[in-house]
Symmetry: C2
Subunit: 391 residues, 2 copies
């Protein structure tokens, strides 16, 4: 199903002739607008009349076949080589893009806020007006998923569940040595070993990831610490997996916290409280509620129990020190925000719900599912039980 | 070893107070300048007196520990939350950055050409002068590798060799059915299956990759086609692997072309010619030669044999239709260029040499090694034999 780009046409209105992206296919707005993926930067022009691509000769054949563009042009159609030689890569390219824009009667552009400054200023020198749009129009369009996109995300989450099960299996199968260290097949069971198991499982399911988190003890107390070294019994191990399906490019996201053996009273208490906050957040998810409402539901639970939050103290370094969640799609972090200033939720938004508590003296605890907002609430795209103790 | 940032100080000269990057850690310039990696955008200010980071509270502790910055500040030190609420994310953030810059006596900035336009224009509205530098200063600094960086790249290439061997092993072990299709363990041997083997091998060696190319037949004739579906005997299969070491973030890159069974005369001829072009390019690698010289050595061999090249015809879609190579480091494609307009080679440059020929009617052939330029020539970082036929 073709996305609804009418908000882009509205943004252009009478002020702008077109919307331009200059980026490679790792930029999700570029991928989404062009329907094309290439490893080097290429240019996509959207106008209410059509979408036009400007690519290198190398990408030309594939762009004609695979992209959703109405027309595809080559850099060489505009004497890129000569202009590069005369003016250098930046100005040379800008002169090529200006000629391409002239062919489409475009002299004024809206561009994404992350459009490259060098290209923008070089186009301005070619008498093209260029303005960064600050309304996140494309990412707002992308936030609402079609049924097909939800299916892609669901598939990535299915793979995620398989890899989480593989991680849990290793922790379950491990022995505990006299120092409390986990031992698997005669070797210390490390964060790295568990991550390898996760990644191999994901590969077998067509997914890849750059990073995954398997963090125990004090490592787990820093939400962005990926974890390293041996894992230990009786302390909380956070496993946070966010794979990308290699074919569809859509992501999944899930977190579980495991203790092999006996959790401390404080970790057990934190886990129960976090599970309560998790359900309070889910209960708040429905169209018309905002991401901020959902975030507040979590903060309310934590603060009522005497835990610190970033809402109460914006320089807090322990307690609940991140957002409740985020949108998931072509990017693993995208709109809507599920945090302070979070937008109104709409059917088709896919978001994570991931409360957690952190303190280097205790460790870290986090529970995360991914859900899609529906007409009357939400559907949970995650099917993995929430249980702390792994025996 | 600390990189030599003096070219950055020279760029600033009397014109600019500082150099600013606003990007997440997937931006290699950001990673290199800050010595810090985080998944959400953060801000690094370089001045000749010191390097200063501005990060979220969540990253503060880790940034203090891990980055190479002299000082680390938090968004909350500059009332980010209040400014976000009053002005929105873009302008709110710009006001925070402006206050951070004021604390370091900076009112004029040079920034990379890909600096986000929205942030640049918002800073200009705060009376900060912002100019994109067009000399690729940081990427030029990055192009010259320290011994330690060369070792990281060599390690990634070692992993690469193991994964290439795994791919070759599958092709060797495969049977050929009556239609010429390769069959492995009773299943068709597909591009996808070989890629999975490559990726699992890389994971076991601490490397990851987003993409890899295993392309046979007509797929191989498009240099950017990743390949899909069953592989066949007697046709050329291009295997191009560019893994990233997950710990160091440095890349490797290598390509081999295999035929299971009997190559056609034309593929055999192309392979021999490509191997000749490959050696001609290597012979041209030395300090003082340019990337263009090396590229010309390849084009000379091909053109003398009557093959088409992009040098001879910039809209060519068959023949030698890409560059001879590229720099490799934190990015798998970086400076120097080994192509038309390629820069002068310097000791410490790590480059690929990867001539190839392509035609949908014949298939594709490519041979690629990665070398480091030394004081008196080059050292090949690749140790994998060049042989077409896999029996």
């Amino acid at each position: 199903m073709e996305p609804d780009f009418s908000p882009l046409a509205e943004l252009l209105g009478d002020d702008f002739d077109g919307y331009l992206i200059s980026a490679d296919g790792s930029d999700s707005n570029q991928l989404y607008l062009s329907g094309f993926d290439a490893p080097d930067p290429y240019t996509t022009l959207y106008t209410p009349e059509g979408t036009h691509l400007l690519v290198s000769t190398l990408e030309y054949g594939r762009a004609k076949k695979e992209s959703r563009a109405d027309t595809v042009s080559r850099l060489s159609d505009y004497d890129y080589r000569e202009k590069f030689a005369e003016y250098g890569p930046l100005v040379g390219k800008a002169k090529v893009v200006a000629a391409f824009l002239a062919d489409h009667d475009v002299t004024s552009l809206a561009v994404p806020a992350d459009f490259p400054l060098g290209t923008a200023d070089a186009l301005r020198n070619e008498d093209i007006s260029v303005e960064a749009e600050t309304d996140d129009v494309l990412t707002t369009i992308r936030a609402v998923k079609s049924d097909e996109e939800v299916e892609y995300i669901h598939d990535a989450q299915d793979a995620n569940e398989a890899s989480m099960a593989a991680a849990e299996r290793l922790i379950r199968a491990a022995d505990v040595d006299d120092d409390g260290m986990l031992v698997y097949e005669g070797e210390p069971l490390t964060s790295e070993r568990v991550k390898e198991e996760i990644e191999v499982t994901l590969l077998r399911h067509g997914c890849a990831l750059d990073e995954t988190i398997v963090a125990g003890g004090a490592d787990a107390a820093d939400p962005h610490n990926r974890g390293s070294g041996p894992l230990y019994a009786n302390e909380a191990i956070i496993v946070d997996i966010f794979p990308r399906d290699k074919a569809t490019k859509y992501n999944g996201d899930m977190t579980r916290t495991f203790v092999k053996g006996e959790p401390t009273d404080e970790v057990r208490e934190w886990f129960d409280l976090t599970e309560e906050a998790f359900h309070a957040a889910l209960d708040a998810v429905e169209p018309g509620a905002t991401g901020e409402d959902v975030h507040n539901a979590v903060c309310d639970v934590y603060e009522a129990a005497g835990e610190n939050t970033l809402r109460a103290d914006q320089s807090a370094e322990t307690g609940f020190i991140h957002s409740t969640g985020h949108g998931v799609g072509l990017d693993v972090h995208e709109l809507p925000r599920v945090s302070l200033n979070g937008e109104e939720l709409k059917p088709g938004h896919v978001i994570t719900i991931e409360p957690g508590l952190y303190d280097p003296d205790v460790g870290g605890v986090r529970i995360e599912d991914m859900v899609v907002v529906t007409e009357d609430g939400y559907e949970n795209l995650t099917d993995y039980r929430v249980e702390l103790v792994v025996e």
